[in-house]
């Protein structure tokens, strides 16, 4: 086994475990912590897939900004842990589980077809996934969506301010 395979397998196990814990935990804070662990494992998976820039951005943006925002809001609201683990009674929960298993089975039916000869990884050069190569694509071929991302962030910023701002008296 190569180092990459060991790393990827370990990260996969950590990712699945932490994902399960996100759903299983009652307390939102603990869930968020496991989600951070999940994001970290996925960052390692990105590394094994040759996406070093992606891995750094995953840590920086996802773990470092988005999840911090999550935790910040959880702390601000400080909701009491809910007594029930799931929203509905055992029957509905069981049915949902059955639905999930069905969905998973149909997904896997498609996915397993990749197990054949076609599911190999292309060999890529040293610069694959480097900051420069990703950046160059972003500013040439993907310039248009890149600009759109700017608009999207503007929308989100305006929206967050509009919704969360405390209203000053006499304001419209």
């Amino acid at each position: 086994m190569s180092l990459d395979t060991i790393l990827a397998s370990g990260a996969s196990i950590a990712a699945i475990f932490s994902a399960l814990m996100v759903v299983w935990q009652r307390s939102a804070v603990i869930s968020a912590l496991f989600l951070v662990l999940n994001l970290g494992s996925v960052a390692i998976l990105f590394l094994t897939l040759g996406g070093e820039f992606l891995a750094a951005v995953q840590v920086l943006v996802y773990a470092g900004a988005i999840m911090v925002l999550f935790l910040f809001v959880i702390m601000l609201l400080n909701p009491a842990p809910l007594k029930e683990r799931f929203a509905s009674g055992p029957v509905v929960t069981g049915l949902t589980f059955a639905l999930g298993v069905l969905f998973f089975a149909s997904l896997m039916r498609g996915v397993m077809s990749l197990a054949g000869a076609g599911g190999t990884m292309a060999s890529v050069g040293e610069s694959y996934g480097s900051t420069r190569s990703v950046g160059e694509l972003l500013f040439t071929a993907y310039l248009y969506p890149f600009e759109l991302a700017g608009v999207l962030l503007l929308v989100a910023m305006v929206g967050a301010v509009v919704l969360a701002r405390r209203q000053a008296p006499g304001e419209d």
């Binding site: 307390s27 804070v29 603990i30 912590l33 951070v36 070093e52 820039f53 750094a56 951005v57 840590v59 920086l60 773990a63 470092g64 900004a65 999840m67 911090v68 925002l69 935790l71 910040f72 959880i74 702390m75 601000l76 400080n78 480097s130 900051t131």
Partner: protein, 355 residues
Amino acid sequence: MDAAMLKEIGEIVVRMLIIFTAVFTGVGYMTLVERRVSAWMQDRLGPNRVGPQGLLQPLADGLKHLMKEDVTPPGAHRMVFILAPIMVLIPAVLSFAVIPIAGDAINLQDLGLPWDWQIKPFIADVSVGLLILLGLASLEVYGVVLAGWSSGSKYPAMGALRSTAQMISYELALGLAILPVVLTTGSLRLQTIAEAQAGTWFGFVPHWNVFIHPFGFLFLLISIFAENKRLPFDLPEAEPELVAGYHTEYSAMKFVMFYMTEYSAMIANAALMVTLFFGGWQVPGLVLPQPWMFLVQAGAFAAKTFFFLFLFVWVRWTLPRFRYDQLMNLGWKVLLELAFINLLVVAMLVAAGVM
């Protein structure tokens, strides 16, 4: 296990030993430096009894904390309470892994040691080193939030909320302040950035980024003060308001971890400033054979870093504290915009071919 692999592991271990020993010694003695300098500024003596000039004081402090009772408050969330100090310390220490302390690798045989090992001047050679540093800095927030939350008490919670808001806010300005350097250097690898600052203008002005990007440096300096929650921005731990902020409820070794985090983050940030803006390990015009080159460069790096550490202490005991709204206004309404304008100007100059 064959010899080659053994050699590789050995090299890594030596690298880590060198850098982490330096860091932890630095952390220990920074506590002493802070107390002595503050005493000096306030016309006191400070701790000078344990060892000559109080040099053994950090050891004594460590021993004392080890033997103290470790209290977990009744309202605390036990697991997270224990996890928080670890989560805050690890990223702070990890950030040293990508900072280069000298130019070229050194062979242990040059030092008169029997092993033919090449010791690189950094632990990990990462092409996105700067991003990793920023990422680790943002991960430090978790420990803070969790410490405040898990203590199950009001003051830590308030302190943690303040810290988080402050750290998130100033992270943006910090990133924007650094970007001009990346723009002119064209790399996120710290060693490349340091190497790019070799040489001098007119034979005596070193080719350091601080002379190219003075504003960037200024903004970075201010953001770092805020990131580290040092005076004049130590609102999260403002004693008169919040006892000790997010780590109010911590005692013994867990408290030491927070304390160590504060100082190692300080050292890391000072080293970052040196690497980005003050030529890193560069000593202009110096050419020496190995191993002297390595040692002098490492020494120069340490000296430059210490200068900034001293600045941190100096400022702490000189300036009064801001109000919290002033702090937020400065971050969001002044620093962010200025840093952005600075970046825009540099970008235009680069595009125009001036830089």
